[in-house]
């Protein structure tokens, strides 16, 4: 070996030792349930932006791109040896949790995370706002509402609905619920429910919101019976919801990334599941006026976006 090469080697070795104090955490494996789904994709993009700005290394697995995702995931975990696995969506979480092998697991975008079997070393960012937060917001904006109704499916939303009922009861609001098993039950369920309530609450239940027809049925029925609709997402404002409090996908992605940074500094208690940190409150003034609802005018300052009748 020439003396020049020997010097290069010597320099490399020297850099090794002087840089030993710069130890950093390891790689993050992102497991995405389906990257073609906009919400999952947005969360992943925002998460990576923050994570990579902090110079973490990222490996990714998109489950819909692999016929045998389970094998793929197992091999990736073994060979990439990530320090943390970040899952987006329920499918990704359920698959990844069996292969964590004492690694930290952070989940997001899983509908009603309370239905999941949360193992030791698991953290999360919830998909829904805390039910207590939503109830108090509703009470603040629409103080005269005393009876709320909602449809849900037992297999996706039971825990969340129970939590809503409990939190509502504590502030004097009665929640009337009706469980359905498939979308074709929606019409009858609404006919039975709407007359008993003052406001209908759309929660993110995949059975209730199976397709556009279901959404149309909900709003047509509510309109016929002159019942306001409160929704978990502002996409329903255009359909006729009077109020929506949305948990932003972008924020969930960024929040998850911040969560990781905090976890690396051991500033997070094990098993913590955070509520979404960012929300957008949208008021449909057009529907509000049409239904002549008693809206707390002092709350207007809290509204992020007001939609009028003119388009």
């Amino acid at each position: 070996m020439k003396i020049r090469n020997f010097c290069k080697v010597l320099i490399l070795l020297t850099v090794f030792w002087i840089s030993a104090g710069f130890a950093q955490p390891s790689k993050i494996l992102i497991v995405n349930s389906d990257n073609s789904v906009y919400r999952y994709q947005t969360i992943a993009t925002e998460f990576k932006k923050i994570i990579q700005q902090n110079a973490y290394q990222v490996a990714e697995l998109n489950l819909n791109s692999h016929a045998d995702a389970e094998t793929e995931l197992k091999q990736l975990i073994q060979q990439e040896n990530p320090g943390l696995i970040y899952t987006i969506g329920t499918k990704a979480y359920l698959l990844a949790r069996d292969y964590t092998h004492n690694r930290k697991l952070l989940f997001s975008a899983a509908i009603n995370w309370r239905r999941l079997d949360i193992a030791e070393g698991t953290y999360g960012v919830a998909n829904e706002l805390a039910s207590a937060q939503e109830i108090s917001l509703l009470r603040y904006f629409l103080p005269s509402i005393k009876t709320i109704g909602l449809l849900y499916s037992d297999k996706f939303s039971r825990e969340y609905v129970e939590s809503i009922k409990k939190d509502a009861l504590s502030v004097g609001i009665n929640v009337v619920t009706k469980a359905i098993n498939e979308d074709k039950e929606i019409g009858d369920a609404l006919n039975g429910l709407l007359p008993k309530i003052e406001l209908f609450w759309i929660i993110s239940d995949p059975v209730v919101l199976s397709n556009k027809e279901s959404v149309k049925t909900i709003f047509q029925s509510a309109q016929q019976q002159k019942k306001p609709v409160y929704a978990y997402s502002d996409v329903y404002i255009e359909q006729g919801a009077v109020l929506a409090v949305s948990a932003d996908s972008d924020t969930i992605g960024r929040q998850s990334a911040s969560f990781v940074l905090m976890m690396d500094k051991d500033k997070v208690s094990e098993g913590t599941v955070q509520s979404p940190a960012g929300s957008t409150i949208t008021l449909n003034k057009c529907v509000l006026d049409a239904l002549r609802l008693n809206f707390n005018k002092d709350a207007l300052d809290s509204i992020n976006k007001v939609v009028g009748c003119e388009k």
Binding site: K27, A55, G89, K155, E238
Partner: protein
């Protein structure tokens, strides 16, 4: 008045278009939200939760990740492949390395299909194989390498004969900025790399990679050649002249569902010994250009039905000057092109069953032949061409069904039919199952056939005094069955034992037709069988990131009742990676190779087996996660070892391989 009416209409149109745009955006948002709910709806948590399945694939697959490559301190693709069970790497007299798979080895490695991001790289139509250009592929931009051992023609068509090696490089998402790296090592080796990748808000994305590699080669001593042993003027004793320099440029551009990707390579090299029986001096020069360009689009018809389409253009050219004697040179060159397209439909019948089916078409052309000869390498004169301009068209039709009739059972059934205008059709099925008979213990079985299409050189070699082509050649065929068990006896331990049996028929080989004249013909068969044992243990807790792995291969390849020459009976790889913390880790690899037999006509002793120790130290994510640095020592104990030289070069003994060698590498991310 007209103007008023016009303005009114225009205003109404604008208002309508705005309202329509807003409604459309709202509908779009609703559709996105419903798509999300639909994705969540697919997953229902039952009381039994999701069952864990051991490795479900029927194929014998090894995946090497970017992390593994960093630990290995790999200098090129072959440094990565040599750790894979069943694969061996040896030197050829021409310079490029040969890839032995499951006990079968040929100089051109034409029985192995190498792919880049799923695109086949067998662009050399004259001689087949991809090792010409891809043996020393730089690894800095590689995300993972997937090695599937066994026949793959049922999916990939021609030349996926003994193995498929798919190299997956970093895309825009992986890069997300600029990455650079540099490596230096023994034999004046230097490597530089620059990559840039970005995803834009409008769904556009771009990734660009540039690599430059240069080395003086391993300078192996060559004690004699056919001239020196006769006392004639010769370069021997001397050293190999395996200088190499290459540029690689790769691009991946995407917009919405479209993607345009490809890679250009220019490689110039000397040679190890030479093309004849005399040691070549530095006047032998090989010059290769290789690129492919692929435009693809994914179409989502329904959630469970998608179609992938692509058109591509491949190019390969060689312009080589070989020294045949002290004062005798030849220059040969050609250009090959393959242009075609493929359409593949993917249908998920249910959560337990998926079917893919596709059609491909390609036209291959060879032209721009160069043939010169003479005593002065700078002033060669035209000579009769040794090959022909040729055109080939072929199409293929394939289908594969992957079905899980039970939670612990996967069945795979596939077949492909290919039709060539020059040698006809070939049908290749593939089938198998993977059954997790006890939790964490799976039994797998597969059967498949594959073919290798005759290369243009084998079909149309002319004007060669010792070897002739044969236009009536049929493809080589292989039938393989393999069975094995994959087990996870304890947490973090993965073990696998595979038995394979391959029958290769209609081998295209050089058959003597007259004294000192041979011709390509479908002649002979080889039975290759063996056992591949693998185990890997990943540590947890404070040793997370550390692992121990081992693979051992016993292989027996027989032709005419004799063990195949130049391949060992057994090979073992032992690797250990010790992670001191999240930054520092050390790596050790021991390669143990058994003795290598000679051919019957070769009186030399067997090539002795050897054990080599490589060690490395890797520091990752330093200086704010922006710097990785590694230093590796190959053949730490400076063991003298040899790769087999063919019988035709028996007078030189064997090829002495490099002693202790160093390689340092620094990678920066911005």
């Amino acid at each position: 008045m007209n103007k008023y009416v016009y303005n009114l209409l225009f205003g109404v149109l604008i208002l309508n278009s705005n309202a329509s745009a807003e409604t459309s955006a709202a509908n779009n948002d609703l559709e996105k939200e419903l798509a999300y709910l639909a994705a969540e709806r697919q997953v229902v948590v039952t009381a039994s939760k999701m069952e864990e399945h051991v490795d479900k694939t029927i194929a014998t697959t090894t995946v090497i990740t970017q992390d593994d490559i960093a630990h290995i301190g790999a200098r090129n693709l072959l440094d990565v492949l040599r750790l894979v069970p069943g694969i061996g790497i040896t030197q050829t007299q021409f310079g490029w390395r040969e890839i032995e798979v499951r006990g079968v080895k040929t100089v051109l490695s034409e029985k192995v299909q190498i792919m880049l991001n799923g695109h086949p790289l067998d662009h050399n139509l004259q001689n087949a194989g991809s090792a010409w250009v891809y043996d020393d592929l730089p690894v800095d931009t590689i995300k993972r390498v997937e090695v599937v051992r066994g026949p793959g023609s049922a999916l990939y068509g021609a030349n996926a004969f003994l193995a498929v090696i798919n190299i997956i490089t970093q895309n825009a998402k992986d890069l997300n900025g600029v990455q650079t790296s540099a490596g230096w090592g023994s034999f004046d080796t230097q490597q530089y790399r620059a990559s840039w990748g970005k995803q834009f808000d409008n769904t556009a994305e771009a990734a660009l990679h540039f690599n430059f590699t240069d080395t003086n080669g391993i300078n192996s001593p060559i004690p004699a050649d056919s001239s020196s042993i006769q006392g004639l003027s010769s370069s021997a004793p001397g050293k190999s002249q395996l200088t190499e320099g290459r540029y690689d440029l790769e691009w991946q551009l995407g917009y919405q569902d479209f993607k345009l990707d490809g890679r250009y390579i220019n490689k110039k090299m000397g040679t190890f010994f030479g093309a004849a029986t005399i040691l070549s001096d530095d006047r032998t020069q090989q010059d290769y250009n290789d690129y492919f360009l692929r435009l693809s689009r994914a179409w989502k018809i329904k959630d469970d039905f998608t179609i992938d389409t692509q058109i591509f253009h491949d190019f390969y050219s060689a312009d080589n000057r070989w020294q045949l004697a002290q004062n005798q040179f030849t220059r040969s060159g050609f250009q090959d092109m393959r242009t075609g397209g493929e359409i593949q439909a993917n249908y998920h019948i249910s959560d337990a069953q998926a079917v893919i089916a596709g059609f491909s078409y390609a036209k291959e052309q060879q032209g721009n032949l160069i043939d010169e000869l003479g005593p002065d390498p700078e002033h060669l004169i035209p000579a009769p061409s040794i090959t022909e301009e040729r055109t080939r068209k072929h199409w293929g039709l394939y289908i594969e069904d992957v079905w899980d009739p039970l939670k612990n059972l996967r069945l795979t059934l596939g077949a492909r039919y290919d039709r060539y205008n020059d040698f006809g059709g070939t049908f290749n099925p593939r089938m198998g199952f993977n059954w997790e008979f006890i939790r964490n213990y799976s039994l797998k079985f597969s059967y498949g056939t594959a073919y290798r299409a005759p290369a243009f050189g084998e079909l149309g070699l002319v004007n060669n005094p010792v070897l002739l082509g044969n236009s009536s050649l049929k493809p080589e065929e292989v039938k393989t069955f393999e069975t094995g068990i994959v087990a996870h006896p304890v947490a973090s331990l993965t073990t696998q034992a595979i038995y394979y049996h391959s029958a290769i028929n209609q081998i295209i080989s050089q058959v003597p037709i007259q004294t000192a004249i041979s011709r390509y013909d479908n002649s002979g068969s080889v039975i290759a069988e063996g056992v591949e044992l693998e185990a890997r243990y990943d540590f947890e807790g404070s040793l997370q990131g550390s692992y121990l792995s081992a693979n051992h291969v016993l292989q027996h390849s027989v032709q005419l009742g004799q063990q195949l020459a130049d391949v060992p009976r057994h090979r073992t790889n032992l690797t250990a990676n010790l992670a001191f913390d999240n930054t520092w880790s050390s790596f050790a690899h021991v390669l143990i190779k058994g003795n290598t037999l000679r051919s019957l006509s070769d009186a030399r002793n067997e090539v002795p087996g050897y054990a080599l120790l490589d060690v490395g130290l890797l520091g990752k994510n330093m200086f704010g996660r922006k710097v990785d640095i590694s230093f590796n020592v190959y053949n730490l104990f400076d063991k003298r070892y040899y790769d087999p030289a063919p019988t035709s070069l028996s007078f030189i003994g064997d090829y002495q391989m490099p002693g202790r060698a160093f390689f340092g590498h620094v990678s920066l991310r911005f």
